[in-house]
Symmetry: D2
Subunit: 435 residues, 4 copies
Amino acid sequence: MEKKIIKFIDDMEERIISYRRDFHKYPEVGWTEFRTASKIARRLIELGFEVKLGREVLKDEERMGLPSEEELANQYERALNQGADEELIIRLEGGFTGVMGILELGDGPCIGMRFDIDALKVIEDSGEDHLPHRLKFSSENEGIMHACGHDCHAAIGLGVAETLSSIKNEIAGVGRIKLIFQPAEEGVRGAKAMVGAGILDDVDYIIGGHIGLKPSKTLVCGTNGFMATTKFDVSFKGKGAHAGGEPNEGKNSMLAACTAVLNLNAIPRHMAGASRINVGVLSSGTDRNVIPEKSFMKIETRGESTEINDYMREYALRIIETSAKMHSIDYEVKYMGEAMCGNCNQVLVERVNKVGRNLGCFNNIVDISDDAGGSEDFTFMLNRVQEKGGQGVYFTIGTDTKGGHHNSKFDVNEQDILNAVKLFVIITLDILEGN
Amino acid sequence: MEKKIIKFIDDMEERIISYRRDFHKYPEVGWTEFRTASKIARRLIELGFEVKLGREVLKDEERMGLPSEEELANQYERALNQGADEELIIRLEGGFTGVMGILELGDGPCIGMRFDIDALKVIEDSGEDHLPHRLKFSSENEGIMHACGHDCHAAIGLGVAETLSSIKNEIAGVGRIKLIFQPAEEGVRGAKAMVGAGILDDVDYIIGGHIGLKPSKTLVCGTNGFMATTKFDVSFKGKGAHAGGEPNEGKNSMLAACTAVLNLNAIPRHMAGASRINVGVLSSGTDRNVIPEKSFMKIETRGESTEINDYMREYALRIIETSAKMHSIDYEVKYMGEAMCGNCNQVLVERVNKVGRNLGCFNNIVDISDDAGGSEDFTFMLNRVQEKGGQGVYFTIGTDTKGGHHNSKFDVNEQDILNAVKLFVIITLDILEGN
Amino acid sequence: MEKKIIKFIDDMEERIISYRRDFHKYPEVGWTEFRTASKIARRLIELGFEVKLGREVLKDEERMGLPSEEELANQYERALNQGADEELIIRLEGGFTGVMGILELGDGPCIGMRFDIDALKVIEDSGEDHLPHRLKFSSENEGIMHACGHDCHAAIGLGVAETLSSIKNEIAGVGRIKLIFQPAEEGVRGAKAMVGAGILDDVDYIIGGHIGLKPSKTLVCGTNGFMATTKFDVSFKGKGAHAGGEPNEGKNSMLAACTAVLNLNAIPRHMAGASRINVGVLSSGTDRNVIPEKSFMKIETRGESTEINDYMREYALRIIETSAKMHSIDYEVKYMGEAMCGNCNQVLVERVNKVGRNLGCFNNIVDISDDAGGSEDFTFMLNRVQEKGGQGVYFTIGTDTKGGHHNSKFDVNEQDILNAVKLFVIITLDILEGN
Amino acid sequence: MEKKIIKFIDDMEERIISYRRDFHKYPEVGWTEFRTASKIARRLIELGFEVKLGREVLKDEERMGLPSEEELANQYERALNQGADEELIIRLEGGFTGVMGILELGDGPCIGMRFDIDALKVIEDSGEDHLPHRLKFSSENEGIMHACGHDCHAAIGLGVAETLSSIKNEIAGVGRIKLIFQPAEEGVRGAKAMVGAGILDDVDYIIGGHIGLKPSKTLVCGTNGFMATTKFDVSFKGKGAHAGGEPNEGKNSMLAACTAVLNLNAIPRHMAGASRINVGVLSSGTDRNVIPEKSFMKIETRGESTEINDYMREYALRIIETSAKMHSIDYEVKYMGEAMCGNCNQVLVERVNKVGRNLGCFNNIVDISDDAGGSEDFTFMLNRVQEKGGQGVYFTIGTDTKGGHHNSKFDVNEQDILNAVKLFVIITLDILEGN
């Protein structure tokens, strides 16, 4: 059957690439994937999947780093203008842009696959050597770009859906499949709310992956060492005053912020492993001759373990609170993203390895890699499944990229999208068949 | 003759107010007063003044806080579109927007009067209770507004020119008058370059003033205690790096900037009098998960004496240099403005007092006030004249304002503009006549 | 009568100098002046003064910067061994080392004179060119020295007592005199408790002075501009931990202290006048490889006005509290000293001037000086008297000093002590006689 | 032969314990082990060892953290008074307190054993439950104590010497043995200078160990993960000034030091592994009202690799230099200690394991432990031997301790000293015999 599947996928090349180019042309950032998600949902329905979406797959209060309501409304409007599914988009309103397609095959394990679908705030390159521009599928949405390959991930998900749908009668009776299309992976904002909605609770195997990072035809069978992370924004509000005439009448939010920055960076290292802190953005004050009233910071903590990240986050929050109070500053902390630590199950990594070798489309297979310092909110799904006794794996399908990830020239070798579809499908069968 | 002059000025009310409203409608920020300056110059020529402008009255390399060349070009274009004098504007190109009108009267002291003409980056109020809006002379230039009354100052200068021109034969033979229209007073950027051009070198009496700060019909005969000040921008450039994956590969410009901010504020107080320091703006970093590559600060120092300001500035520069080097950061310092300390000559203050009392249009006359903490680049002119053995004075003509200075609702009682014209003219005569 | 008094004082020279040398030989630091105070009290009794001492003249809970009980007991013992008055010392036990002698003369104004009597923790010089050493009256108490001339002040007080006692019948009927011998002026710790005991409440004129600071035969008739000040110690207690093995297990008191130091120095300047802050001592940690558990700071704030000092102190305390909490540190603040702002009454300054000129023993008389940046707890007395409608003055009697004040080689020209006695006595008579 | 050796050692119990108690009674801190080293050297000579000592085994300029010359002279004098060998001590003068005994056995590998011999600045407990006190061998040298078991290490070394001496004819012809008695291990100050003297250059196997850290009868066969470390002292010298009267005249070394402390703690974490920084001691300023002239810091950096420690040290030195210059402070850095990273050779660890099991005196044998965060200058010897192609191991011989290491109640179970002697000797034979 594997041969038949491979052929089916190869034959689908044009359609899969057209999916990818369509998503690429209409990129949408986290929580505004109205067009993307509604079109995915429509196609899944057409393919015979049971589809859940919007509030069914996202727990409202666990969504992090939401845009403003005005922004959500504007993007919703744009999505409608750009061909979103008019019927389904209604259920995504307010930023509930997740979708899940379920294929019930009977008794047997439940296999989940996760595909993230959001774009980035990057201005796409418009040079002649940038293929999307030359072939006229570059971003229609100014300042937004699929510069991390999630357009491919969405297309891979649909390719997997097409394939499984085509063979569902042949694999009937051996379990259930969930194709999970996740919003807002950038900034690690979306997975927690999907897990919060309970959709991972019955999953026995969760599979995720990323395109790129390695050259084409390279497969890294698993990634370990994801760091737990918390992202949050801090707003300080003091009081302005003329810096020459009445310096003591101000409440200097910049003094508070700079005290915080130095102390945040000076949080003692943790004996149990790697920890990280970064104040990535600090913006303070308006005029040269006015005591700075407001300051704003974007902060993230990380830890090799959840315990270490908790230590960093709690220490950081204490520093923020006390440096604000030190200068009589009001403050507000807003959580913007979160991910957990995570490691793949070795048996599943080995299964990926075996399948990858058999497929023949990879010429360099790496057992496992360590994502030192990186974070992925796929870990929320991974951990939930592992807590319930299941297994998970997160692999990397290499592709020759132009520009690096998050770069305005980013592009992939579209051939590798097909390899990813094959890998997802064959691993699924391998698990279902219990090999 | 005084009565005749008063009447002349009162009769001129409509014209003076129309000058003011015209300037108000087309506000231009420092070094871009192309329309304003060219129209003033044209009118001075019409009135029989010898006119010097552009590079004749501004020393190129002493101009501080210039906009970018692109900005200068754009504003020049706009000025042309908004009715600038097409012949004279050419001589202002590149931001040489100063003008001086000279009236040669014969032997006798040279009297200078200074009027500043620039606007602010303030968005003008558009409420119905905002008179300029209701009477349709509010700003045509978005984001720019005459919110500090320099439109009035320019109109006062033209009013003085009209009056003196009308009586020049009657006062012939008793000296020379220089009406100095200065660009870029906001941020104390323009006066130094006018002094640098030598135009104050032959001035025996320099007179300046400001509208507002006190209610209508109040006259403050002199202002002392201007602080010396230096304004400068600092750019830090380090190296970005992924904050999770390779924190030690970055060069964190934010650590350097925050170290600078705390230490700048901690410069020891000076035994000899008041000192000030303010970092009014700090902007650092781009992304939450990237070590901040660039930081930018707007800084000012002040001192009750030039020595104290020198102490503050030098200490500040050392802090900036060393905090940059501490974290392997490249840095650049750009001077943006400067003013000196200054005190009026008491004999001239008394002369203003006497004239003010005689005029009858003021019902509250204050001897002298202390501008604690403030700075004015008029002090460059004041100091130059005093160095050469001359005298100077800077008075305040009260007006009932709406909103405070630099506020989007700022407005004046236009009647007080006439009082200012009277004061400037009669003091001039009083000096020339040696009373 | 003045001539007679002058002669009486000149004849007393040897006795006054022997008083001074005795005090110099047995110096006692603040709150341990057991020997000094008991001997003064005994002499006042012998001279016919009503004497109040110990708890009668010091309010217990307003004494600041007390030594430990053990230290008080040790010094008490030493005082007994060094010839303290065995009967009177009992009433000074526990550090109540103030004395007041009262001379009731009848109806009329009450005049207070203040003499401070404490020594310093300075190791006295033992070179041959150091007169106290050569003449064998240098300190018997290791590490303690009268290096600020308070030995002279005590001797002046006794000289005044001797003189007034000798003429009391001749000036009877014209008022009351209080000679106040104050402990613990160093560190501005003692005056507040004397005022707290109410002994200044009936005083109409309060007179104080200091020897030195100017050459011999110079008289500065008044000192203005004393700064209000607060002195306090801060103790931080965190938790030690091995810096290599478990850095996150510590609570780093040094991080808290350094954050406090930078922010204390960065308290915004006050628009209303001079402010000061100093962390004079910081001591933190024990071993290179241990997270510093404890830190200790000696801090002082000052202000040109009480309001400014209050602003500085309150801001400082907030910084201390918050920087401690930032790093989970326990903290304790202990008040160690306090002084108020103060200015002399001009009429009294002029009276000193007149008396000084008449005396003939001064050849350089300065009207008034400004003690920029200095503090004296005489201001507590001055303010209390002024609040009640009375007047006060604080003058300086120059003397040629060796070494500066607080220096191990400090010494005076003893002849100037007599001049001081004359000044105190004649001013008193001048006031009593209402000239 | 092993049985015979074990018996020999058991019979020597009393002598070995008396060695330990003698060293315990006369503890000497690093570089002042004059008595200890001279007595060891004498005994080695008596036992027939070729002895090298003083400058023969220590490279002068690589000794770190030396006491002052005065201190060295005082301790030398004391050692003489406490029974040092009068002939040999001369060669140790000036702090050259290392000793090596060589046993030439013929052709074959050279085996080095390292024993550290210095004590700590700890005040020994004098309670009745403290065995050294009860049995009257507690420290005669006030403030100094063998609180880390190096008295035992020295006794073990002599025990090994006695044993090997007794069997030297039986093992002749199979190699050379070097017993290295190292000064100044505390603060990792001494090993570098012994390596610098070249005495490790011909060593094929280097063996070291520590008593304690685990209970009696526990053997940890190897320790890995020693961190590279650098210890250094920093002195800052600015300028004092009266904090009230002339704050700007000072050069505030405390501002510089606190800026350094915050930034040192904020050195970015290293991507490649664990890093550490600690300012363990900061002492700054003298008086509350004086700008702090001098500051002093004790600092250490550590790294999981030499590269990481280099990164930390270089960043730290840059922070120190720039924070000093920021406030016009002179600074001096003095290196006080250094250790390298180090890992044991696994084959040697296994050999220790085998020998330990065979000996029968251990009931809990642990393969290897990770000394997370700790540093040992034995690593200099280990690295030199490994560089030359040799092998090394560092094991831990447990003992039930009272109090922890470096605690005033520290004590050992003396029985475990014998086990250590057995282990060293049998491993040596095992290596020589090539089993």
